[in-house]
Amino acid sequence: MKRQVLIGKNLSLGYGSGNQKKVVLSDLDFNLLSGQMTCLLGPNGVGKSTLIKAIMGKMEPFSGSIELFGSAPSTYDRDALSKKLSVVLSEPIFPAQMTVEQLVALGRTPYLNWSGRLSDEDKNVVNRSLEATKLEYLRKERLGELSDGQRQKAMIARALAQDCPVMVLDEPTSHLDLVNRYEVMQLLQDIAKTHQKAVLVVTHDLDIAIETSQQLWILNCGSPLISGTPEDLILRGEINHLLPSDKYFFDSKRGKVVMHYQKTKIEIEGPDELVYWVEKALIKSGKPFPKDSIRISTNPFRIFCQDKEFTRISELIEIL
């Protein structure tokens, strides 16, 4: 049974006070569940960071309520909150001399006395976090010598060592390459499942979020927060709320965002997946379309057009 750990009801957030109030987010309703990864998506400036701030207890709602395990995050004292909620922030501050192990051990801070001495139990937790993130082999490496992906995983390991039921990550994949994006998200999803944590990830990678998360929250200017499993949102077309202009739409067949373009008048014969790419290349080139029809053959890959044979699309485009 999945547990509701963070509940927002009619939540309105913003900055300023009195007459100068500037509402950023209004009437949000949400439910963060344990044991699964939830991805928060939305365009830049829509107020994702504001929502994160409210979850971290750094701001009071204008109206409505936000409850972490039954009480507002801003009413928790720092100690108690640091045992409920761990974060990975988007600000990049890394002491280059620190080793991965030392970084992960910092996650134990809420449980330590003034001297910061780790007990055997703390050391065990650190080891388990390193294991869960598959970072044991980097244990003694210094942060300054790691790649961005490794460093981000180390930050996740630190948050894991803090041993909180809720983890919030603000754009953890933003500086990473494609493979590392998948790996980090997969790791977070594993953590959510195996450790029964509620993981909330702010991200801009729609396709990876669809691939890896069990729940999407879509924030858009002026509309309520839409939440649901990625598949539901796709089938009901709600995912298109992420794409404010009509220029783009979510192609549910291919699972990605594509541009609207005029249907071409050219006829292309051949296997579907090849036709797609040839058509795309022709449209992108901006050149006039060939008058004759185009035929594509596989094994070997050839394009036939205007009585000529091409081995690459670029060759065809060149003669147009």
Partner: protein, 341 residues
């Protein structure tokens, strides 16, 4: 293996500190043998009665002051660097030395500038003037610390306070008599000597009280390495820590400057040396490490300052910079440590 290296380094540094300590006691206008000092201190049996007088009442207090000042300034510098996350921060960035200087300047210069005379100038009176000056600037900084959330803003305001107060001192120097100006200039060059046992005791108490709050928040300083937001997410009260830092630095840097004048360089350089030696950002290692290195470095500088001709001594403030700056420049260029901070 790593903890072995840490312990070994501590041992080496402590041995070095002991050696420098004995060397420091044996050198001076009257040269007293190394072993003579060693056995004299242990058995209280001296070859000449004058040796006992020289060592116990002149050189020993001075050496102890060097150790206390080295510890105090280094710890104060380390906490400032971590708190402001700025490798150039030091004990004086909040304007404390300028504040103390202002107090002393009022005592030494304002009299001649405004045409009244102050009573006899003693280590006590300059110390009081320094404490008042440093305390005043600390109150101003605290007033700002109440209002601003961002520690960088606090840093800038501290530096600006320092600049303002220095300007006031310049104005006073411009209008004051040559003799009092010289007194002030000598004070501003720093001096570890000239303090009696009473003053050494007070300095020791100040350093102890200034150090305790820092040691007690080792955990918070470690968490602060990741920045204020992360520290707060791990349950650290950064506002409380800010007050501890202001209080501790006020006591350490303020007290030391009041008794010994401004001593440049140690506070900024020693934490970097400790980081390079122990290759760790962990304050459980860096606090004791900086303390040992700081004490050793200042003793070394004091020893060097009495070497030339052996009868005269160089101003300690000049020696610390002359000795230390090349060392740090060399290390920075070789290790590129601005990235390793």
């Amino acid at each position: 293996m790593k903890s072995n290296r840490t312990a070994f380094l501590f041992l080496v540094c402590l041995l070095f500190l002991g050696m420098i300590f004995l060397l420091n006691l044996s050198l001076g206008s009257v040269e007293i043998g190394f072993s003579e000092v060693f056995w004299g201190l242990i058995t209280d049996h001296w070859e000449k009665a004058s040796y006992r007088e020289i060592v116990l009442n002149f050189r020993l207090p001075k050496a102890l002051v060097a150790i206390l000042v080295g510890i105090g300034l280094s710890l104060s510098g380390l906490q400032m660097q971590t708190f402001f996350r700025n490798p150039l921060a030091g004990p004086y960035v909040l304007g404390i030395s300028s504040g103390a200087g202002f107090g002393v300047a009022v005592l030494l210069l304002a009299g001649s500038a405004l045409g009244f005379t102050v009573g006899a100038i003693s280590p006590w009176s300059t110390a009081f003037a320094g404490v008042f000056g440093a305390g005043g600037i600390l109150l101003l900084v605290s007033a700002v610390a109440w209002r601003v959330r961002d520690s960088m803003t606090l840093l800038i305001v501290g530096v600006m306070f320092g600049a303002t107060v220095s300007a006031l001192i310049s104005v006073m120097s411009y209008f004051s008599q040559a003799e009092s100006l010289k007194l002030y200039t000598i004070w501003s060059l720093g001096s570890l000597g000239g303090l009696g046992w009473n003053q050494v005791l007070i300095l020791a108490v100040l350093v102890l009280f200034g150090t305790l709050p820092v040691i007690a928040s080792t955990r918070s300083f470690n968490a602060l390495l990741l920045g204020e937001s992360y520290a707060e997410s791990m349950g650290i009260n950064s506002m409380k820590l800010r007050w501890l830092v202001i209080l501790s630095t006020g006591i350490l840097a303020g007290g030391i400057t009041a008794f010994c004048g401004p001593i440049a360089f140690v506070g900024i350089a020693v934490p970097h040396l400790a980081r390079l030696l122990w290759k760790s950002p962990d304050h459980r290692i860096l606090f004791p490490g900086s303390a040992v290195v700081g004490a050793g470095l200042l003793l070394l500088c004091d020893t060097i300052s009495q070497l030339p001709g052996s009868a005269q001594t160089l101003p300690i403030n000049a020696v610390t910079s002359l000795v230390g700056a090349p060392v740090v420049i060399g290390l920075v260029i070789k290790r590129n440590f601005s990235k390793e901070f």
